[in-house]
C-alpha cells in the first residue's frame, strides 16, 4: 500500500485496461466556441458595468463639486436678504400678536396698568 500511495508500482492489467479507455471520451465540438463566446460576452458585460460605475462616480463627483461651488453664493444671498427677512418676520409676529385674543388681553391689561400709574403720579 505504501508504494501504491506514491504511485510507483507498474500498472496491473486492470489499470492498463482503464488507462486505455481514458481518451475514449472527448469534449463535444461546440464546447470550445461556446466557452470562448461566453467568456467574451461576460468580459464585455464586465467592461460595460465598469464603465457605468465610472460614469456614475464621475457624475457624483461633478454634483459634489457643483454643490460645493454653489454653497458660498447661497450664503451671500441669504446675508443680502437677511435684514429684509428679519423685518418681515417681525411684522408677521406683530400682526400675529394683533389678531391673537390672548395677546390683546395682555396689551389691554398693560394699558390699564399704565393708566393707573399715570393717575397715581398725579
Amino acid at each position: 500500500m505504501i508504494d501504491r500511495l506514491h504511485g510507483h508500482e507498474p500498472p496491473d492489467e486492470l489499470e492498463s485496461l482503464l488507462l486505455a479507455a481514458g481518451n475514449y471520451v472527448r469534449p463535444s465540438d461546440d464546447l470550445r466556441p461556446r466557452v470562448l463566446e461566453l467568456a467574451r460576452t461576460e468580459r464585455q458585460e464586465r467592461r460595460m458595468q465598469r464603465n457605468l460605475a465610472r460614469m456614475a462616480a464621475a457624475v457624483f463627483l461633478m454634483v459634489m463639486v457643483i454643490s460645493a461651488y454653489r454653497q458660498p453664493a447661497n450664503a451671500a444671498a441669504s446675508q443680502l436678504f437677511s435684514p429684509a427677512m428679519e423685518a418681515v418676520s417681525l411684522e408677521a409676529e406683530a400682526s400675529a400678536r394683533r389678531h391673537d385674543p390672548s395677546w390683546e388681553t395682555v396689551e389691554s391689561f398693560t394699558d390699564i396698568r399704565r393708566w393707573q400709574a399715570s393717575l397715581l403720579r398725579l
Binding site: 492489467e13 485496461l17 481518451n23 475514449y24 471520451v25 469534449p27 463535444s28 461566453l38 467574451r40
Partner: protein, 199 residues
C-alpha cells in the same frame, strides 16, 4: 503539496498567460485541459452534458478572475477542484436518473486501429458509472490523471489513506465487473498508438 509534472507546468504557463492577456488566452487553457476536465466531470456527474456545463462555467469564471488560479500553489489541482465543485453542484441540482449501462450522452473518439477495443472502452465507462461518485473520482485521478494518493487527498480534501482505501474498494468492484475484458484486451491496450482519431 504542489502537483509538479510537465502537465502542471504547462497549466501554470497557460494560467500566467491568461492572467496577462485575458480572455484571448483562454483557448490555450481550453485546448490543454478540456479533455481531462470533461472526463473527470463526466465521471462525477455521469452525464457528459452536465460535465461540459461544469467545465464551461469553471473556465468562464476563470477567464474573469484568472488571479485565483495564478495564486494557487498548483493550478492544475485547483482547476480540478473547481470543476469538481461545479460538477457536484450541477449533479445535485439536476438529480438525473441515469442507467449506468446507457452511454448515449458520451461524445467518444476511437483511434482507427483501436476500433476493436471500443467494446472494452465502453465496458470500462459502464463499470465506472456503476461506482459511487466518491470512488469513481479517485479512480479517475489515480489512473487517468496519474496523481498520487497524497495529491488526490489534496484535490478532494480527504486524507491519503481515505483516498487509497476508496481506490482499493473501487478496483475490487471494477475487477469483478471487467473480468471478462481483462486479459486479451489489456494485451492490445498496452500497444496502443494514440495519434489518428476517428469519431
Amino acid at each position: 503539496m504542489p502537483v509538479q509534472s510537465d502537465f502542471s507546468r504547462q497549466v501554470r504557463e497557460c494560467t500566467d498567460r491568461l492572467s496577462a492577456v485575458g480572455v484571448g488566452a483562454l483557448g490555450l487553457l481550453f485546448d490543454l485541459t478540456a479533455q481531462r476536465l470533461v472526463r473527470f466531470a463526466t465521471a462525477l456527474t455521469r452525464h457528459q452534458h452536465d460535465a461540459e456545463d461544469a467545465v464551461q462555467t469553471t473556465l468562464v469564471r476563470l477567464a474573469g478572475q484568472p488571479q485565483s488560479l495564478t495564486r494557487a500553489d498548483c493550478p492544475w489541482a485547483y482547476l480540478l477542484r473547481m470543476v469538481r465543485n461545479e460538477a457536484l453542484l450541477i449533479a445535485r441540482r439536476k438529480q438525473r436518473s441515469i442507467t449506468t449501462s446507457n452511454l448515449g450522452d458520451l461524445v467518444t473518439q476511437c483511434l482507427v486501429d483501436e476500433a476493436e477495443r471500443e467494446e472494452s472502452h465502453r465496458a470500462v465507462w459502464v463499470a465506472m458509472r456503476s461506482l459511487p461518485q466518491e470512488q469513481a473520482e479517485v479512480v479517475v485521478l489515480k489512473i487517468w490523471e496519474g496523481l498520487t494518493f497524497s495529491q488526490i487527498g489534496d484535490v478532494l480534501t480527504i486524507s491519503p489513506n481515505t483516498a487509497a482505501s476508496r481506490y482499493q474498494y473501487a478496483m475490487t468492484k471494477l475487477t469483478s465487473r471487467l473480468s471478462k475484458h481483462s486479459p486479451s484486451q489489456v494485451a492490445v491496450a498496452k500497444q496502443a498508438p494514440r495519434e489518428v482519431i476517428c469519431d
